[in-house]
Symmetry: C2
């Protein structure tokens, strides 16, 4: 028996979820740092399954102070996940060093959410619950005793020689002398994702206003300028639910005092309240590094790390004292006066200004582990404050990891590549995080509109003008189209909110890859082409991978295929089943590749047969708790429709106590050939926000 | 006392070299893997020095199973080294993960020779003798109790805010619970480099033929084609000392049998001998991965690693048995019939086809440590065979590390960026390795000539036509200029050979940075410019570094400033002292920046005042052992000249037994104002290769 032959004992921890340990796992792990508890009742709605067969072939051993894991792969299998990748959806063959960092332009494991979780196309998933930097060989490397290994070939004479022969395993190096590993059953990849999200506490359910429109203001804006901007949104008729203040709200920033600048914000309490009265919440930018000028610096000093960030100390958020100091400060300065959320910056990288791996922390947790979990800790701790207030929050954060899917945060960065932002959105659904392809300054009206059209089909519909001072109406030639899409976003809130409820209760990611759809053809999704045959350009004749990574699902029914600057047409791959145009209801195809040529006014959106899309009237702010809104419920295609529309107060955690409802919507063809829609009555005592319903049957016979 | 406060006990191991240990250093280290012994007598020619003051401020502690080192930095200090970097000479501020790999386009520590040795501009050096992947913060990261730390600034209002405040230490994370660290005194950076090279055994002294011209042939060339090519070199009048066979000489390759292909090479013994008779040696490409079709596969199997490379097994070259099997095979098949050296490929990376870090090896040495030392082990083991034959070899290898400077190998890769190749050449001198900016196919005659002009001023003057089948005369419009430079290379052999002897005996790198020259202005060498002030392009307002990284010294006297395709003029920075044009002897400047506008026919080369450049007559092959050649000894400038010309048999290791000479050359102005040169007599019993001497005084009064 060689050293890789350490078989494992699998213990079922939830329905369809098993855990095994190798060596002595560390106490501080991703799941322990997140503090998440499984959403147990969610598992009851998943298929009953048995331990996947491959469990008996997973091996783990401890050697050289490290844990070596090996998980078998079969020939046709494909892998998804391994965190927030920006350029690739299909991960088989990759070598990744999972490391929380800003995204640097290549999918090498350094990213904002390097979640050590992957899903196999064969319907199982693996989570390695370690807060260390893991090295993953996602189907790379072949043992010499492998019965499946390709035979050696003679490159001199054999044209089929390849620099990357088939590998039959995922190998993982955990730099610690033990680890916990979780195995998730399917049967489908979607079921795997659901089990993973439920294990991590279920997906976040944002407040309804979180799904409205948001604008981030320039760095040095004053209270007066912010209020003026809010008024301008109202006057121009653009929706706005929350507005972001960038560093200038603080008396000092990079590092931060967490205190209001008394010149730019002389009376924060009244300022926040005046905006709340207008239906607009405040979101505050910050980073966690504490300025020597902050009132909490002295108390925080002994519970901070050995190294500074821009001269600020780094709170050791593993210690109770640091958590409490930070929470108390945020509560006292911001949350108590009505601030609705945060944008937590610089918890990811860059290495050049974060603490080095030789830094030490009073908790005794290593710099590496703190780095892997710091963004998650900031989410957990701020979430706890809002939970205590029984107010939901929704904000932005630059780093996350396994276990964080129940925290109300959306990831973002400075990378700003439109195409890669869409690939990140696709991958976010594989790893229990949310991602916004935010809109900043652009070079043209076309780019502005194209980006705006995508961001309204994302978890946070945001314009970030911190540096460029752009407004939705900055490009007059497309300002009315921008307004149309911003209002479409508002109309879609009932649908999006329901899909987020499914994220919460059932673990179904609201934004996700085509690969999680039934009837998606794997062979079409990923293929290989010969690379350059010029040996001086490509000495090892590496192949080029082609994959579908620019279209995605929004909830149950909508397929979104963004257009990028310069494009006038694009391919869209439809899964099996009839598909319809979102705007016209017309049939577009079934299980095929279509070419679309929309004008600048349209982002291609397609709808499944039998889809039910509940839309509210276009409003400038999301409905408040208890506010009744009129609905247009659309039906697409020829199949009968059925949807369960979620409702609750939209602002508190009372849904956790059962104060929510699922209203049954049915759309059926009558005997007279006409369509008819119906919606179930609201149960007494349950919240309701639905007023008059108009039924719209989009597909004409 | 915090955990970083572990002071060290420094023990002097050689003159000006001290060693300290932290924790329990591992037995398997870079120096132990290299097997190098210090060249003790070389230290006697270096200044006597005391332990540098900073020794008492170096700290090391073991925590979390890792060793954390901290070495102080003062404000104006600059750092060089950290292995074979391609884009930067000045390393302060960098974060590197030192990892043997192919060079991937950024100086992040992954390179062919990630040597954990650096030199301070203040005249000391540090070697971390670990075969682990080291993370180096080369002046990045600031402890919160640092007395030198910059104060936190408010980015909102302070224009001097920087994302990278001054750091006062080099920090190193060694992923092992102990390490040896060496401290080298100066007083100058050059003295530091010399002590380092001498500790590692002194630099390699190639055979004289190794400094001649070499051509590598296309992959599938037959014996007949190779012989024809050798004849063509002769007929066209281009020099050729050794010729390289690429994979096609083997019966199977990638992985390798190490056996001759009986079709292409039916009679290897006679083939090699016929070429030797023409004065041309054979160099054989190989990689160490053994094909199942090799006769040694079965015996090697039990002493190979757990994982394959392209279906070949990976000999565990730490084990005596694998070394012996490999040595015996190379001796029997190649070296015994006269093969002169190897090109050892694919001992660096890529990760995608080398063994993963979870691989295991029968020696018990980890995959990580094997990776860091594998190229060095192949050098050591092949070198041992040639030493046993008392024949010097000179070859190519794709990976090296600390301790390898006495091995007769030159590094190379597929990266092929002319500018970056020159920067690598500069950096090679900081880390005890040699580098060739080899010439392959090019897009134009201009590029061809420009690359050719640089490679003749490098450790190996090579054209590599493995993929492109180029010959020196491929571009007829520059063929005669190519010949002129190839012959200039031959003429320079006495000078180059002497400078290599100084590498061997005194540790002075023959190819090196301006920064090691006296009178080089550090402020000119490296400066910072503001980066983009557009926050959307450069959100953290990172600065841009500008540095001198495109000119270098060849030996004591020559400054080479290559021209790159498209350039018609360039800047050259001259150190203090008078400088002269190599071709004309005319004065060009002193301690200043000059602009040169050479034609395509000239690579700018400048010569120090008082320089003595011994040049032999232009020949097509380097002189054989005992062959006498006529010399032209050039003098440049207005100062008297003095040079010690090295001589030995040029082929064996007898110089280690004292069979060599240093002949004193003096060039002095006579009372009559005329220059006169003289050369000391050869001691009796010492080898001599110098015939008639012609004195040429290049600088006219």
């Amino acid at each position: 028996m060689g050293p890789l032959k350490g078989q494992m004992l699998w213990l079922q921890v939830e329905s369809g979820v098993w855990k095994a340990t190798v060596g002595t796992p560390e106490e501080y792990s991703l799941l322990s740092a997140s503090g998440s508890q499984p959403l147990k009742e969610g598992f009851s709605r998943l298929p009953k399954v048995v331990l996947p067969e491959l469990a008996s072939s997973v091996t783990g051993t401890v050697q050289d102070g490290k844990t070596y894991l090996s998980i078998p792969l079969s020939k046709e299998e494909q892998l998804y996940g391994f965190g927030l990748n920006f350029k690739t959806v299909h991960q088989r063959g990759k070598i990744l060093n999972l490391h929380v960092d800003h995204y640097g332009g290549s999918d090498n494991g350094r990213t904002h959410a390097p979640v050590p979780f992957y899903i196999s196309s064969q319907g199982y998933g693996i989570l390695i619950n370690s807060a260390r930097y893991l090295t993953v060989y996602a189907g790379s490397g072949i043992t010499k005793d492998s019965p499946d290994a390709e035979k050696a070939k003679d490159r001199n004479t054999d044209k089929t020689w390849t620099s990357q022969p088939y590998s039959d395993a995922v190998s993982v190096l955990v730099p610690a002398s033990g680890v916990e590993i979780y195995l998730f059953a399917g049967p489908t990849p979607m079921d795997v994702v659901r089990r993973y999200n439920l294990l991590c506490g279920g997906g976040t359910l944002p407040p309804r206003w979180g799904l409205g429109f948001t604008q981030r203001t320039p760095v040095l804006y004053t209270a007066e300028q912010v209020e003026k901007e809010v008024d301008e949104f109202e006057r121009h008729g653009y929706p706005l639910d929350f507005i972001g203040l960038e560093p200038g709200w603080q008396s000092k920033a990079y590092p931060c005092t967490l205190e209001w600048d008394s010149n730019r914000y002389p009376d924060p309490g009244s300022f926040v309240q005046r905006l709340l009265d207008k239906g607009v919440r405040i979101n505050l930018w910050t980073n966690p590094y504490i300025s020597p000028d902050s009132q909490i610096y002295k108390d925080m000093y002994p519970v901070s790390g050995s190294h500074t960030v821009w001269g600020g100390i780094v709170p050791d958020l593993v210690t109770e004292k640091a958590r409490r100091l930070w929470q108390d400060k945020l509560m006292q300065e911001h949350i108590s006066i009505g601030v609705g959320g945060y944008k937590i910056d610089e918890v990811d990288g860059y290495d050049n200004w974060l603490w080095p791996d030789i830094a030490t922390f009073p908790s005794g947790i290593s710099a590496e582990q703190i780095r892997q979990t710091y963004g998650m800790l900031t989410q957990r701790i701020t979430n706890d404050i809002f939970r205590k207030q029984n107010r939901r929050s929704y904000g932005l954060v630059r780093a996350s990891n396994a276990g964080a899917c129940s925290f109300p945060y959306v990831l973002y960065n400075d990378y700003y590549d439109h195409r890669d932002f869409i690939t990140a959105l696709i991958n976010s659904g594989f790893c229990g995080v949310l991602w916004t392809p935010e809109v900043r300054g652009t070079k043209s009206a076309e780019e502005w509109l194209r980006r705006l059209q995508s961001v309204v089909f994302s978890p946070m519909a945001m314009i970030d003008s911190w540096a460029s001072a752009v407004k939705p109406w900055t490009f007059p030639e497309v300002a009315s189209l921008v307004k149309e899409y911003a209002l479409l976003r508002m109309q879609l809130i009932p649908y999006l909110y329901t899909e987020f409820a499914r994220y919460h209760f059932d673990g179904i990611p609201p934004f996700r890859a085509m690969n999680l759809e039934p009837g998606f053809n794997l062979k079409e999704a990923i293929s290989q082409e010969l690379g350059s045959q010029n040996l001086e350009e490509n000495p090892y004749l590496e192949v080029v991978k082609k994959e579908i990574k620019d279209q995605y699902m929004v909830g149950e029914y909508l397929l979104v295929a963004p257009m990028f600057t310069g494009q006038t047409s694009r391919e869209v791959v439809l899964t099996k089943g009839n598909w319809y145009d979102f705007y016209t209801g017309e049939y577009v195809g079934n299980g095929e590749k279509i070419i679309v040529t929309p004008g600048l006014d349209r982002i291609p959106v397609f709808v499944k047969d039998g889809a039910v899309i509940p839309m509210m009237e276009p409003m400038l702010h999301a409905p408040k708790s208890g506010q009744i809104v009129n609905m247009e419920i659309r039906h697409y295609g020829k199949a009968n429709g059925h949807y369960r529309l979620y409702d609750d107060d939209g602002e508190t955690f009372d849904y956790e106590k059962g104060l929510y409802s699922w209203r049954d919507i049915k759309i059926e063809r009558q005997k007279n050939g006409k369509w008819k829609g119906s919606i179930s009555k609201i149960e007494s005592g349950k919240p309701n926000s639905i007023g008059k319903v108009t039924w719209v049957f989009m597909t004409k016979d």
